[in-house]
Amino acid sequence: MQWEFTNDRAISLQIVEIVQKGILSGVYPPGSSLPSVRVLAVEAGVNPNTMQKALVELEARGLVHTQRNSGRTVTDDERLIMKLKQQAAASYVEQFFADMRNLGFERADAAAILKSQATSPLEEVG
Amino acid sequence: MLSKLIKYEFKATGRIFLLTYVVVVALAGVNAAMLAVRPPSNSGLEVLYAGVSTVTGLLYGIAAFAAFLLTIVIVVVRFYRMLGDEGYLWFTLPVTPTQQIFGKLIPATVWTIVTTIVTLASVGLVTFRANWPSLLGSTWRSLASQGFNPGVWLVCGLVFILFSLLVNVMLFYAAIAWGPNLIKSSRLGGSVVAYIIIYVALEVINLVGVLVMVLMFANTFKATQTIPSVLTSADVAAINHAGAVFGTYFGIEYLILAVIGFFITRHFIGRKLNLS
């Protein structure tokens, strides 16, 4: 898990994003148990209170659940995970279109380039 | 807590004192040896002997003097440093100001007593031929037979010396504690000035005491001014009386001043502490 933070945004929100990415990418598989707050805080190099706040937020989003005596586990709600994956995918795509517009390619052209690159990748020039 | 403070104080100062004592005793031994191998007259070695024995005698004298000087210096410096950088350690420990003071005062007193004993013993070593036990014994018996009570004089004398030692140390401590508050810009300057003020005050009090006693007991003191070679029982009584009055007055005075010094010190290292 790559714990990288910028100091100009709330750390707890950044933790939420990173853990969510980890869940979506399978680093924290569905139904698996998460390390304790303290262990995660040390791993991330952040304040345990901040880590706790983030986990509480993740719980509010339904991504983790607190078991009575065995800490927190990742949700096994496959539909929720799929929905979030699709949301993430959509935002990546929008970012792609925005980057392509900066090069002067409108959406339709960008989509066409995308399709051809997907089937036969070009070598990067230079 | 107090015993731990004392333990660390002894650990910090033990090495230098033991080293000093070894030097003093060794030099005493050298001098004793020198006296034992004194060459007979006309053997041709007198000049050499005189030279060497003068040097060894001088060294021993300097060492003995230095031992006392060192004791005072260490006692003062240890307390002074406690109110410096070291204070960040000692004054954040969970100990009371009273414990801090006794944690330095008790080792200081012990070291002073030990220095005195070691120096006296070293003198005894150098003068080993004098047969001190029988000399002291006969002096004791002679004094006792004349009507002095050597036991009482000895015990009271030792207590008196102890009180005067305590008051001197406490006045140093009081000056060091008061100093930073007296002259805020210079801890050292303030401590020196504070000590001068305290010392002068002590001397004035002592002087007043002496004057009062001279006036009150003019006759008794006149009697002790010229001690005839043969003492009458009246003379002995007068000397005993003078000693009792002098010793009691100054003993109590020293004790009171030591206690006052303690409270002054505790005031300035307690709630009014201002560590640089």
Partner: protein, 232 residues
């Protein structure tokens, strides 16, 4: 009582100079608080007042509701910004001293930390470098299970590896009953671990807020906010 540390109108004057001016603040239990300000802003003076090393000119400081005393000193673990051990002492003597005087001291933790830092406990303080001396003191201070930790510039003049070790130790050491106050002007390195920040300038409190709340409100890092606030 939730506030482990509280000051009320705390003022400290040294002659004509006012080091702290009417400082009122509260630190919550279990929080890591950054006491941030430029050099000379009164941070060290504030910490010394909490420790009872200085007497207030006016106002008061309360540790768990009590004025500084041997009882509060048993619960406060203080790391000053300079070393205070006698040169003759070996590192293990220093460990012994802490074990002797502090009931909350964990000797095993301290020796493990010193070993992890590669420090030979048989060496005397005289022979250690300045950085190593500071590490020894940090290891001792963090090996106590105190209610309040006061760290004065713990990462100043330390190499990056040691700095990470120090911040790591602070996080690892965290317990809900222990409050850590980190006083520093090197904010960028430390701000990730802070719950709350207190800005101090020329003896006055400029602002107090939670670190994340400050970030969300200004869109800037604590370090940037600090630099802007103290620019002129």
């Amino acid at each position: 009582m939730d506030a482990i540390l509280k000051t009320e109108g705390l003022t400290k004057q040294f002659g004509a100079m006012t080091a702290l001016d009417n400082v009122s603040l509260t630190c919550q239990a279990g929080h890591i608080v950054g006491l941030l300000g430029p050099n000379g802003s009164g941070k060290t003076t504030l910490l010394k007042l909490v420790n009872g090393l200085l007497a207030p000119t006016s106002g008061r400081v309360l540790i768990d509701g009590l004025a500084p005393s041997p009882s509060t000193k048993a619960r406060v673990s203080y790391l000053p910004d300079h070393t205070y051990f006698d040169n003759w002492m070996k590192v293990r003597d220093c460990v012994g001293l802490f074990a002797d005087f502090y009931a909350d001291f964990d000797r095993t933790k301290a020796t493990d930390m010193l070993k992890a830092l590669g420090i030979d406990t048989s060496m005397t303080f005289r022979t250690l470098s300045k950085g190593t001396r500071e590490k020894v003191q940090l290891a001792l201070v963090m090996s106590r299970q105190a209610q309040l930790y006061l760290l004065d510039e713990p990462i100043g003049g330390v190499d990056p590896a040691a700095r990470d070790f120090i911040l790591d130790t602070i996080i690892k050491n965290y317990n809900e009953n222990g409050t850590v106050v980190i006083s520093t002007h090197l904010i960028a390195d430390v701000e990730k671990v802070l719950d709350d920040v207190i800005f101090l300038n020329a003896g006055r409190v400029m602002q107090i807020s939670s670190a994340d709340e400050l970030r969300e409100r200004t869109g800037k890092s604590v370090d940037e906010v600090f630099r802007e606030a103290f620019r002129c």
